[in-house]
Amino acid sequence: MRWATRAGVHIDRAACAWLLRRFIDPEASFVFVDDPAEVPAEATAFDMRGVELGHHGGDCSFETILGRYQLDDPVLWKLAELVHEADLDDERFDAPEARGLDVVLRGLSMTLDDQQVLEVSGPLFDGLYEYFRRGLLLGREPA
């Protein structure tokens, strides 16, 4: 399936792309557009104004996608808190790692193009997922 989002990928879009490919559509391919009107007809848009898979009710797009696809994996919802704070920084959740993650993605977006940001950030989110998974199993910070 094809998915479309705004060019200039940052934390929420990078995390959404990882989520889509890893949990919803292993064959996902991504196209980046500057204007909502450029979204190809067959593509599903996310993290853009006026689409279902965007920000709604104070949620970031990552949270919206989790809800929409009924992904109730607690590890993903834990990761969603981090993505939410890195993206919106509204202090809804206590996620002190968010600031660092925000800076990392911001830096990547300066040196890489959008497709490359997804390639590089994918393993990063894999690692974060594993970290939070072990943390939830142990009930404390994993070593």
Binding site: H10, R49, G54, H55, H56, G58, D89
Partner: protein, 179 residues
């Protein structure tokens, strides 16, 4: 976090005009919750208020996105919102807006300096707590500080001094605890 400031702040100084992102919006008077929510978010973003239902921020990818999502939220709350990219009609106009934004941040930094001053007379534990809290506050202010005033450095120094005092006070205690 001060990155977005570079372009418009520099251009305001040199006289060439910066790019701004504008949000024009209208929300129903009732219910008042969405109105208050939007108002709070605009305060948090540190927007320049250009008129009734018209706000502006120096344009960059982040501010553009912030106002885009806010426009979306306003539409979902039954309001009307449009986002515009604009250049001011004159350098003087831009300077006046930048100055007003700078003054608003300066007042926030002064409040931090005052709180640091009050905390400095407290015990070591209180100072450490205050330093942590005020650093969070400085971070929040810095995010909406597009035209940094001189008070920024003074506020940082005032908060750093709280930690320095605590560290100095803690050192003899460590020595005493030794054999």
């Amino acid at each position: 976090m001060t990155g977005p400031a570079v372009l418009p702040a520099g251009s305001a100084r040199s006289g060439s005009l910066g790019r701004w992102v504008l949000l024009a919006y209208r929300l129903p008077r009732e219910p008042s919750n969405p109105r208050v929510g939007v108002w709070r978010k605009l305060e948090r973003l540190g927007v320049a208020r250009l008129g009734d239902g018209l706000v502006a921020l120096p344009a960059d990818a982040r501010t553009r996105e912030q106002l885009d999502w806010l426009a979306e939220e306003i539409a979902e709350a039954g309001g009307v919102a449009t986002v515009w990219l604009a250049t001011p009609g004159s350098a003087a106009q831009e300077r006046a807006i930048a100055e007003a934004m700078r003054a608003a941040r300066a007042a926030e930094y002064r409040a931090v300096i005052e709180q640091a001053r009050v905390a400095a007379s407290g015990g070591a534990a209180e100072q450490t707590r205050a330093a942590r809290r005020l650093r969070d506050e400085l971070r929040r202010i810095a995010r909406r500080d597009f035209f940094p005033p001189a008070e920024r450095e003074a506020a940082r120094a005032a908060v750093d001094a709280l930690d320095a005092d605590t560290a100095a006070a803690a050192t003899p205690a460590v020595v005493e605890a030794g054999p």
